[in-house]
Symmetry: C2
Subunit: 207 residues, 2 copies
């Protein structure tokens, strides 16, 4: 059985991800759950408190999902594909990434929420950088730039792909962008390689 606080967070999360933090009110959640606004304020005194709780829970959920990926997948490419699937599932629910939405509204949010949003991005960046490093070592990925910069590019591109795909209510649009982004990391395929000059390729230092 879910706690009341959890149901409140679930309802708020959906509202933020679909309509934005500045659009919804306590009345919306109260109505959906069949409680009074005052009950909401008992659990989350201010709207900022609620927003921060949302971000912190979202980070924890993402953390678990990434641990799951690390545990189940071996290849860097497979890990990355599953990472993209996480985003795709969000869009399937006709939502945006919680922190993607809040990043748009960033300037209007209380400071603790702003710090939480940056923590979410920092955490994702760190995980992705690790995957990029792994993929480069294994020869799966072909790329220039630091692992950190590639990680930032990947995260930003996926966030943007969600943002742009949603108005079209088109999961395929997202999937096409995501696979194109990921493909750009892949070592050139045989067909591409056979075009290249053979020769004494030396292993490059970090680009």
């Amino acid at each position: 059985m879910e706690s009341t606080a959890t149901r409140m967070l679930d309802s708020a999360e959906k509202l933020v991800q679909t309509m934005g933090f500045n659009w919804f009110s306590y009345a919306d959640i109260a109505q959906e759950l069949g409680v009074r606004k005052a009950s909401l304020h008992h659990h989350f005194t201010t709207k900022g408190d609620l927003g921060l709780a949302l971000i912190e829970r979202y980070i924890r959920q993402f953390q678990r999902a990434l641990e799951e990926i690390d545990a189940r997948q071996v290849d860097a490419a497979a890990k990355l594909a599953h990472y993209a699937k996480l985003y795709e599932d969000v869009l399937r629910g006709k939502r945006l990434c919680l922190c993607g939405m809040l990043a748009a509204e960033y300037g209007s949010l209380p400071e603790p929420m702003q710090a939480g949003i940056r923590r979410f991005f920092d955490f994702n960046e760190a995980w992705l950088a690790q995957i990029v490093t792994q993929g480069r070592r294994s020869g799966e990925f072909h790329l220039q730039g630091s692992a950190r910069d590639v990680a930032r590019m990947l995260m930003s591109s996926l966030e943007g792909s969600l943002l742009v795909a949603r108005p079209y209510d088109d999961v395929e649009r997202f999937a096409a962008s995501a696979s194109q982004i990921i493909a750009s990391l892949r070592t050139p395929t045989l067909r591409e390689r056979t075009r290249s000059k053979p020769s004494k390729g030396k292993r490059r230092s970090r680009a």
Copy 2:
């Protein structure tokens, strides 16, 4: 001398791009311009009217900027670099793309604004697809996928790079992502080609 309506649009545009459409009110604009709210309603009866006017003006401005690029730049790569600069300038003003912001708030907006947001993306996609086709013909770009899909990926990635970079107030973060995205289109350089293994590496199916 700027018309009152123009100054109203300028003020509203900045508020939307920094704080979001659902955050600001007519009172904010009225205060900044030293007029009354009723004057605003005279020019833009409803907030939705104002929002739509904002989108339409933004599209016209973008159109002019892209014509400028077409007129001044010859190479597809140079055109793309200038396109990215358009985004970078937005971030320099500590703003988001108007339609990127509105895409986040999409679900909460009146239908005419929603249609306008899609027009903006469609228009950008069409221009980018043309550049991609040009670059592929000239041999500047190396890519898989249709010009349309590459165009969508580029636009989404740049929108997302703005979104993620802004909380860090870091134009360099955007620039690094943008140049990485664009670099992924470039035909492998000689130096990159020489590194590839000749050999029978087996081709994996598309991820």
